[in-house]
Amino acid sequence: MTGKSVWVASFAAVVLIAIVLLSAGSPSVKANDQPSAPNAEVKIDNFSFGPQTLTVPVGATVTWTNRDDIPHTVVSTDGVFKSKVRDTDETFSYTFTKAGTYPYFCSIHPKMTGQVMVK
């Protein structure tokens, strides 16, 4: 690989990142400043996900913890992720590698819904 093509590739990467940041509409997200995205937590309490809407950067790992006396599941509405049944104090983690909105629900108690917004 020549020096020139390396330069072209990194220039293209910068442009791509700029496009991603612009299209996400959140210039405040500084991906370069945070090489490892912060992890986030969702608590399951009283048959509800809290927070119901969680916003995380790309690369973040989200961990759900069931604090109810009753088992729950965490299942992506679009089939992206699906936990096994989680009993009291058990957890489920998923790492979001792509930007987007991820609605999910408890497949045992489908009135329980939430979403993760990845920017």
Partner: protein, 325 residues
């Protein structure tokens, strides 16, 4: 004509209220008398009497029969208010075995287990082996179909059934239909029967005489009790439209771990107590999670449901009995 019938039902319900056996009165009655309430369905007209007065009348002449509904055993649950759900299931079975009239069979309306674990199903099977009634009909609860889309449930309890475990059978002229409304649930929704099962149900009921008494049983209530907690079935209206032409329809459900009753035209809806733990009345707690009660009161909020069919009059009498009675 329909108005006249409605008036009659209203009048009957009014009488019930005057008797102090509306829901609140009923619970109060159970608390001090330790017995239950008889619902007699006769040609779509509900009547009620105190348990003690009628219990003997409904016992076994030729063609009559009875069965017991148990529900929500949640084997594997071990938290307050019930650290030993196997023991309370055993108490329920002892109560069934001690009945003066031997029930012909048992219907379990689901949530056999807490986590669909093989060991939990094993424990349940072991306990039910001790029941005097050997024939047991099951429908699954949402706790019985975890992780494997219900494959294990079907293998153990659903041999010969259709789809996710629905089926029908006849007992001395009464047509029973076991329905599954806990599979393939959709985000934001309640219980669901699904298109395939509804088609099957319509076909199953087609051609049956309108005078055939019908019993539908499923885990989640087939009537909307409290949508905020998902206590209902999204497409139950469709199912109920298929039974409208029948003269006597009884709908037996579990899931909500408490007794609820409603009569709508010729359809009598009934939910059973759990054998494991109580749940709060709709909207009286932050969520539908297990209700904690003092240990000495637990057996008053768990129980079984005894259903008697009397041929003369084609009526079904439903008696709920707390374990502690």
């Amino acid at each position: 004509m329909p108005d006249k019938k409605q008036d009659l039902i209203d009048q009957t319900l009014q009488n019930l209220n005057n008797d102090g056996v509306d829901r609140r009165g009923f619970l109060k009655c159970m608390a001090w008398a330790g017995t239950g309430l008889v619902w007699t369905m006769s040609g779509g007209i509900p009547m009620s009497r105190a348990f003690a007065k009628t219990a003997d009348q409904s016992a076994g002449k030729g063609g009559d029969f009875s069965f017991v509904q148990i529900s929500d055993s949640h084997i594997g649950f071990n938290k307050p208010a019930n650290p030993d759900v196997t023991a309370t299931l055993q108490t329920a079975i002892n109560k069934i075995n001690a009945m003066s009239h031997k029930p012909d069979f048992i219907i379990h309306t689901g949530d056999l287990s807490q986590l669909s674990k093989p060991s939990e199903f094993d424990t349940l099977d072991q306990a039910l082996k001790g029941a005097s009634a050997k024939q047991i009909y099951f429908v699954p609860g949402e706790h019985d179909m975890l992780n494997d889309n219900g494959e294990q449930y079907l293998q153990r309890y659903g041999k010969g059934t259709k789809g996710t475990g629905w089926y029908s059978f006849d007992q001395k002229g009464v047509h029973f239909v076991g329905l599954v409304n806990v599979a393939n649930l959709k985000a934001g929704g309640m219980g669901s029967l699904g298109h395939e099962q509804l088609e099957w149900l319509e076909d199953d009921l087609k051609g049956r005489s309108a005078s055939t008494p019908i019993v539908l049983f499923a885990h989640i209530p087939l009537w909307t009790i409290y949508p905020e907690w998902g206590w209902g079935t999204d497409d139950s209206e469709q199912a109920l439209s298929y039974v409208k032409r029948f003269g006597s329809v009884t709908v037996l459900n579990g899931h909500i771990h408490q007794i609820m009753q409603k009569i709508e035209a010729k359809v009598s809806f009934h939910t059973a107590m759990s054998t494991a733990f109580p749940q709060p009345a709709p909207g009286t707690a932050p969520s539908a999670g297990p209700m904690k009660v003092p240990a000495d009161q637990l057996q008053q909020v768990l129980g079984i449901t005894d259903v008697n069919y009397v041929v003369s009059g084609r009526s079904l009498a439903i008696v709920d009995s707390p374990l502690g009675a």
